[in-house]
């Protein structure tokens, strides 16, 4: 059958043409500019920029903090998704809505208030200071900002799969004498593991590039609390566009690769999921 003749609906050429034009102009052209700028830099220069100890320390800080932020989010996100799906309690709808706050609140505002809240004289920080825990202007602060901005990823990935988990399996396991931890680790966790991993990975990718929330709370001390995004911003401020492009390429390629892996994992998972149900 000729595909073209079978098309009843109008607007194919128009919508495809405009979409491709729009994405070329808005997304592709700027991205290609970055890549071609990067390719225009000599190899020696790239090596020089990318081996700067201050930058390497920023990369290290970024990866470590993003890692811990996503680990914390895996647990915290599971806890929140769990209580929101499993239990009825007063204010549940309110909490469910509030989980999206980090997506709706501008990152600059999040950074500003978290740094004040956890400063040594802040509402929360004053209770942590006697314990010797300083959050604002340390790596803990960076982790906190990343946890805040990316927690919805994990909660929103987990909620639908937890809702889909039919109680029959747990009832069957319980009637056969399984303990509560056994039910969780043998029945529930295997079911939600793919969604948990996808949510955590998304949270990690988001944290790698986080800028607005982090710079308010990090203190931005060279060799200690600078993140990779801030280094790009600093290079731009010094008109060192070549160094900025080199670092940007590293972050961009890492994020895109990670996201590609997540998408592949997601489509594999959904295929399996569709087969099972």
């Amino acid at each position: 059958m000729n595909l073209k003749k079978s098309r009843v609906l109008p607007g194919f050429t128009l919508s495809l043409g405009l979409s491709v034009f729009y994405f070329s102009l808005i997304v592709l052209l700027p991205a290609v500019t970055l890549v071609s700028n990067f390719l225009g830099i000599s190899w020696e220069e790239i090596q020089f920029y990318l081996t700067d100890p201050r930058l390497l320390s920023a990369f290290r800080v970024t990866v470590i903090t993003a890692f811990w932020a996503s680990v914390i989010n895996a647990f915290l996100g599971l806890l929140l998704a769990w209580i929101l799906v499993r239990y009825e309690f007063p204010g549940k709808k309110f909490v469910d809505t509030l989980v999206d706050l980090p997506f709706a609140l501008p990152t600059a505002v999040a950074g500003l208030i978290l740094s004040a809240l956890f400063a040594t004289n802040g509402w929360v920080g004053q209770w942590l200071a006697p314990l010797g825990i300083q959050v604002s202007y340390t790596m803990l602060g960076i982790i906190l900002a990343m946890v805040f901005t990316s927690i919805p990823f994990v909660v929103r990935s987990l909620q639908p799969v937890l809702e889909d988990l039919s109680p029959e399996f747990e009832e069957a396991a319980a009637s056969l004498g399984a303990s509560k931890p056994q039910i969780f680790f043998r029945i529930i966790l295997p079911h939600i593991r793919p969604a948990l991993m996808i949510g955590t990975a998304l949270s990690f990718v988001r944290s790698l590039g986080e800028f607005g929330a982090v710079i308010f709370i990090a203190g931005n001390m060279p060799y200690a609390t600078e993140v990779a995004s801030l280094m790009i911003y600093t290079y731009i401020g010094e008109y060192n566009y070549a160094a900025a492009a080199a670092v940007a390429m590293v972050i961009l390629v890492t994020s895109l690769l990670l996201l590609l892996i997540v998408q592949l994992a997601q489509s594999m998972y959904f295929r399996r999921y569709a087969r099972e149900s």
């Binding site: 729009y22 929140l80 769990w82 706050l101 709706a104 208030i113 039919s166 308010f216």
Partner: protein, 281 residues
């Protein structure tokens, strides 16, 4: 298969809820309270004085201008993209769908840099533009462009899953019965995607108003001229003007709360529609 129905918590469940609510309180509720407390800590007069400061008003105006341009542009193109990838099957369809998501994967500062390299003075188009006396970087058009970039997936992302499920039978029936393209869209498609479209618009607006990283790169942060509200928060913070910074933060937080309220309302309507369809069946 049945889905899980929430029930009253057991003792262990109550502890879990308490733990979860403890984190919600510290991470989500205290920050909101802190904004209000700090913005009003020197009284109502200091708040209004900061609010009516001419740089603050300029930042509000610029932020609104950016949103007013960005949102309709992405609304139209987001709908077009969703229409194209959900109602037709063509070579490269999957690639286009994957492509829509790329702005999510690009960190804000990197996005800003891409635009700077393209439109800046040393950029590809920069030289031509400066000959024509058109300034895009460090001026409002640059801010609008990067904001369009970072917000372009939101509308399409909301529409695509929904329109994929809805299929194209209803539209095809309308066209075969003689409806024009416009009539079909307005009478058949639009009522079906209404709530998702509104929600996508709200998300786009929220992100457009609050974007920081990419705008920080291209704006130049000229006080009273190219300073958006989120950038103004940072500027006042660096000036040690806490009340001023929190006044700007308060405006943005109120907007974020409005976003959440609208989201709940849209979801409620959507759910009611689904329930009604379910009850007819």
């Amino acid at each position: 298969m049945q889905t899980y129905v929430a029930r009253a918590p057991s003792t262990g469940g109550k502890w879990l809820i308490a733990l979860g609510l403890f984190f919600v309180a510290i991470l989500l509720i205290l920050p909101l309270l802190l904004i209000f407390a700090t913005a009003f800590k020197s009284g109502w007069n200091a708040f209004t004085q900061n609010l009516l400061d001419k740089d603050m008003l300029a930042a509000i105006r610029l932020t609104l201008l950016v949103a007013v341009i960005t949102v309709p542009v992405n609304l139209v193109f987001g709908t077009l993209v969703a229409w194209c990838v959900t109602k037709f099957n063509f070579f490269g369809r999957k690639i286009l769908i994957a492509f829509i998501d790329t702005p999510y994967a690009i960190p804000p500062v990197v996005a800003g840099l891409c635009y700077l390299l393209l439109y800046g003075n040393q950029g590809w188009l920069g030289e031509y533009l400066s000959e024509q006396n058109i300034q895009i970087m460090f001026a409002w058009p640059g801010i609008v462009l990067v904001t369009i970039f970072v917000t372009c997936p939101y509308v399409a992302r909301e529409l695509i899953p929904l329109m994929e499920v809805q299929g194209k039978d209803e539209e095809e029936a309308a066209v075969l019965l003689g409806a024009s393209g416009w009539k079909m869209f307005l009478k058949v498609t639009l009522p079906n995607i209404k709530w998702a479209l509104l929600y996508g618009t709200v998300l786009t607006t929220a992100r457009a108003v609050g974007e920081f990283g990419s705008v920080a790169v291209v704006s130049g942060s000229i006080r009273g001229e190219t300073n958006t509200l989120p950038l103004h928060v940072q500027l006042l913070h660096q000036d040690y003007n806490a009340v001023g910074a929190y006044t700007a933060a308060l405006l943005l937080a109120c907007f974020a709360l409005l976003t959440l309220v609208l989201k709940s309302i849209f979801e409620w309507f959507e759910q009611r529609k689904l329930d009604r369809v379910e009850s007819i069946k």
